[in-house]
Subunit: 403 residues, 2 copies
């Protein structure tokens, strides 16, 4: 088996940013520098668009100090793109790569980016262009197949958990119904992670709606009514991707924007939250109903970052380069969880086609029977990915007997 | 002058929560306990509503451990309310206070809460009910008169600055127009604080719109177009309270909900952000336009809290109790800034009517001539209130010459 080949490398970032995507970038760059087996380390700006336009930076010249500071900085430092390459794009890409002597290609992103890597890999073989093509996983949605979880999820999950901790305290102080709309197109993992915010039994979120279960307006209103009757308040976490019985996303009724992978825009608008608040106002007699859409804060918020997530994001970048240098192979680096009492993971190279395009949903064992909350098994799954949450306290509240 | 009088105290929280409002509560409770001059320390649940309904807890029984943990916890631990008392409410309140032997009344809140304290103080004098009545300042809006700034603002400002830091990185990676809607009904301080997010010259926010200047749709679209043309992207921070030339809030066109102080609901809906995004989509050829409304996260987010803000919030609670015990006086505790090179403050008792009802706006010297950004003087004013922000870094980005 042929080990390292002579050549330069290109690395790029694609799809939605995350808080730790630069850890993967830096993990790969540092490993490439250290190996001494790779010539130039090019960073393509804005994914494959940067290759097509020959917009490269020389990552080999970045100091360790800069790299380490960038690793801790959220959002894609190289810029990102949502673009699915055509066959002709691929030929153009190979022409550029050849011109720059590139034989190693690393693409950091989610399932759509894995598909891009897969297409480029296939077309490279067909065009007889020798290329070691690797996908490095990233997605706050946590929906990559083959992975126990994905880099980016732990930090986004920590953000939404902290946000809902605060929001629950706010709702407790000024009671009413509060609806929080969380990112997640097809997979409810991130919305489910809001459950980590709960400290006391009566803490919110009290209801959680996921894209994995059909969303019914009447059931929703009845669920909220029931919690409100019991607690005098109700905090609801809802995935932006919740869909009706026919699978049509509720939010898609307000937008027509579609990207080149065929995804409808669900984020960057408050319409779904406002619709749901309107339903509660219309269907119940509850007066104070509010909705917040957490939006892009979830994926790029500095200072609320999971340590485990950072560490693993760095590792997948490092390991992808190690793999690429070890033999004439391609693939994606997947995170697998060991079946041990204490949380621990290992990394495995998996075929690109196994993570490309299709996504993973929340397993049934993580969702309650009524489809309006998560199970304790989900908490056990998600807690180690998020790590320590801030401590919030209640007064003991010794009630004074009425005179 | 009569010093401490024999009696119990009631303390309550009112209006919107903040991240440090419990510091003030705990500051007052700890000082009252320490003084040995106050009998029972009652906490009324949900402001004056709790007094009317005789819903009291015995704060004197809370341990120091609990109090210190609660102090660090965002959102009003006693619960809050938005309620303006009528004359007859006041008489009912005095009947309850008399029954519970209360001679000290502390009300933590903003200008509306100061008005409540003022009304109760006036009516107590009229009813000849001996009561030492104090308002303790709190508002993320930073719009209390007589105060250089108010407890709660520094932490909310830190949150929005950190959020926009991340959002700017996100927008830089995936360019387009991003509109962030920030809390602030009449005063733009909090929206202005997003400017603290800027590290490099081309960092967002690139435009800031405040309630203090009339918002014109055409100027807005032209401003965004201009920035976009120059940078290929644009991050905009907008106060929820922006109003048209006639003073009508843009957001009020979507809602009819009004509280007992006459305030129209502006938060808890994404309508304004969506409207502004729609304007840019309609008026320009820019394709990627997104809006996020930061919502309630701004005022109750744990773990992004300003140390200076925490310290000062604790101090105003402590000082209010000290004042009330020192002489037969009433008032509000105001924060004044010393005219020194290094940031430093002092506290002053001011008459209730001077902070009640009416609010303060951003001074003209903090807003640029075009009314679409802040001045360096504002940064000098706000930076010490917020404290240290997370470090975010860019790659040096050594461009590779095209081949």
């Amino acid at each position: 088996m042929k080990k390292a080949i002579e050549g330069n490398m290109v690395i790029a970032q694609s799809g939605g940013p995350s808080a730790v995507i630069n850890q993967s970038l830096v993990g790969a760059v540092v490993e490439a520098k250290k190996s001494g087996k790779i010539g130039k380390i090019y960073g393509a700006l804005h994914g494959i668009k940067g290759i097509l336009e020959e917009k490269f930076i020389d990552l080999g010249r970045e100091s360790d100090k800069t790299l380490n500071a960038v690793a801790k900085t959220p959002s894609s430092a190289l810029g990102t793109v949502r673009m699915k390459p055509s066959q002709s794009d691929c030929l153009d890409i190979f022409a550029v790569l050849k011109n720059y002597g590139v034989r190693y290609f690393f693409y950091i992103g989610g399932n759509d980016s894995a598909e891009t890597a897969q297409i480029i890999n296939q077309e490279a073989k067909r065009a007889n262009y020798e290329l070691r093509c690797f996908h490095i996983p990233k997605t706050i949605d946590n929906d990559l197949r083959e992975n126990d979880h994905t880099p980016g999820f732990g930090s986004a999950a920590k953000f939404v958990a902290v946000a809902v901790m605060g929001d629950n305290l706010d709702n407790r102080a000024l009671p009413g119904v509060k609806i929080d709309v969380i990112m997640g197109r097809h997979a409810g993992f991130l919305t489910a992670a809001t459950a980590l915010a709960r400290v006391h039994n009566d803490d919110g979120p009290h209801l959680i709606y996921l894209p994995e279960r059909p969303f019914n307006v009447d059931t929703f209103a009845a669920d909220v009514q029931k919690v409100y009757k019991k607690l005098g308040r109700c905090v609801v976490a809802v995935s932006e991707g919740i869909s009706d019985e026919k699978g049509v996303p509720i939010a898609s009724k307000f937008t027509r924007e579609v990207d080149s992978h065929g995804n409808v825009q669900l984020s960057g608008t408050g319409a779904l939250g406002d619709l749901l608040a309107g339903i509660i106002k219309a269907e119940t007699s509850i007066k104070r109903v509010r909705a917040d859409t957490f939006g892009y804060l979830q994926r790029s918020f500095p200072s609320v970052i999971s340590e485990t997530d950072s560490r693993e994001a760095r590792a997948v970048g490092r390991i992808a380069v190690k793999c690429a240098l070890s033999a004439d192979i391609d693939g994606s680096i997947a995170i697998k969880r060991k079946n041990t009492e204490r949380y621990s993971v290992y990394f495995e190279r998996v075929p690109l086609e196994k993570v490309a395009r299709k996504t993973k949903e929340m397993p049934a064992e993580f969702i309650n029977k009524q489809g309006n909350f998560i199970t304790p098994r989900f908490i056990k799954y998600a807690a180690p990915l998020v790590g320590k949450l801030p401590e919030v306290a209640r007064l003991k509240g010794y009630r004074v007997v009425k005179k």
